[in-house]
Symmetry: C2
Subunit: 204 residues, 2 copies
DNA sequence: GAGGTTTTCGCCTTAAAGGCGAAAACATGG
DNA sequence: CCATGTTTTCGCCTTTAAGGCGAAAACCTC
């Protein structure tokens, strides 16, 4: 009868007539779950299949939101974080929404600087590596992560170092994301940067 | 009084309760303008600012649709193609929608195989170069385009060649997009292909 | 057949990513 | 306090992809 009762669903709600959708989703989050410190929010996709929920059709605009790993927002008792590799049964089409969000995040981690939204203001390379590994689903090399981000000019060393773990080891340097990387920069063009072009030779 | 009258606007219309949005936009296009042979359609973004149109708020889901360069669909007399570099004044927020679509296309041309949707079933490298140049807004090198697409395994030579232009010159070989590239393949991961990973050394 | 045109190919340079091991910088146990 | 284990960081090298440039190929017209 109510096949979707007692299943987990994503936070959300109805759009008010005086707000746009992004404002709305932020309000919903702030009301229902205490997730206010979103470091990044972007539209994911619109889900509009006529039968996606029982009853009259509901069009949903899904968003991807990222919270830095260092803040653990207080959430109500009926709410929970779920690891994406072990999702419970979800209501409606929410599972496919989550999977799309995951894929989007993975893709953008590679070709944008969206990683800044996952990291605390200051972090060690190993910590960042952990975040990237978790998000991407495979182990990332710290060495390479370090170099790739540096070469892209996204990483800035703060002077400081973190305390070594209880097992000893060299204390890790603390880094920050460069200021100009604090907004998501979309793809680095692949097929021809804006530089001078072509015009190869004689064109009279 | 009616600041948006007599301005150009994008095709579109209301969503019916028994169709999803993509179905809807395809229907609208087929009805209003005869653009049926869309080689690729994807969601662009939702536009929902409360004041984006006068009167009660209208939420619009914008799509990017691509038509191969060889078909020139019949369009009604009140409808026109406009070059994106010389847009007329548009109604509402339609200009920003168009610009977003343009940017999306440009980005995806670089890191996906979306180009297949712009090209006719068979084409010469120069023709393809023309399409890429027009879409990207800068001159692309034919040599490099050729190699990049080949190395990605997207280009397949048909045996045939096109007729040389009236000015002579070596007849150009005709190519096709490889079959497996006929669906948009999203990013080639940059930061770590799925291959073996890390595990660098001793982990006991 | 000479000269002009367009396409294609081959070789080289540049740039970014990834691998691997050594060195650096810490902890702890004898 | 020195040897040993641990973790991070650095340097050098390899691999892969993109981009440049000129020569060769293949066609036209006069």
């Amino acid at each position: 009868m109510e096949p979707h009762a007692h299943r987990w669903s994503l936070p959300g709600g109805r759009l008010r007539s005086d707000e746009d959708i992004e404002t709305s989703i932020k309000r919903q989050l702030a009301e229902k779950v205490d997730v206010r410190q979103l470091a990044h929010v972007e539209q994911l996709a619109v889900f509009s299949a006529p039968d996606r929920v029982p009853g009259p059709r509901v069009v949903a605009t899904a968003f991807l939101g990222l919270v830095p790993s260092d803040n653990d927002p207080a959430i109500p008792t009926d709410t929970r974080w779920h690891p994406v590799e072990a999702l419970p049964r979800t209501a409606f089409d929410h599972e496919s929404i989550v999977l799309r969000a995951r894929d989007r995040l993975r893709a953008k981690l590679s070709y944008t600087n969206i990683g800044f939204a996952l990291a605390p203001p200051t972090f060690t390379i190993s910590a960042l590596r952990g975040l990237y590994s978790a998000a991407l689903g495979y182990r990332v090399s710290a060495t390479n992560l370090q170099r790739v981000l540096s070469r892209r000019g996204l990483l800035e060393p703060t002077g400081e170092t973190a305390l070594p773990g209880r097992a000893g080891g060299r204390p890790a340097a603390l880094f920050t994301f460069a200021r100009r990387s604090m907004a998501v920069t979309d793809p680095f063009a692949v097929l021809r940067p804006p530089g001078q072009n072509e015009q190869t030779g004689k064109r009279s």
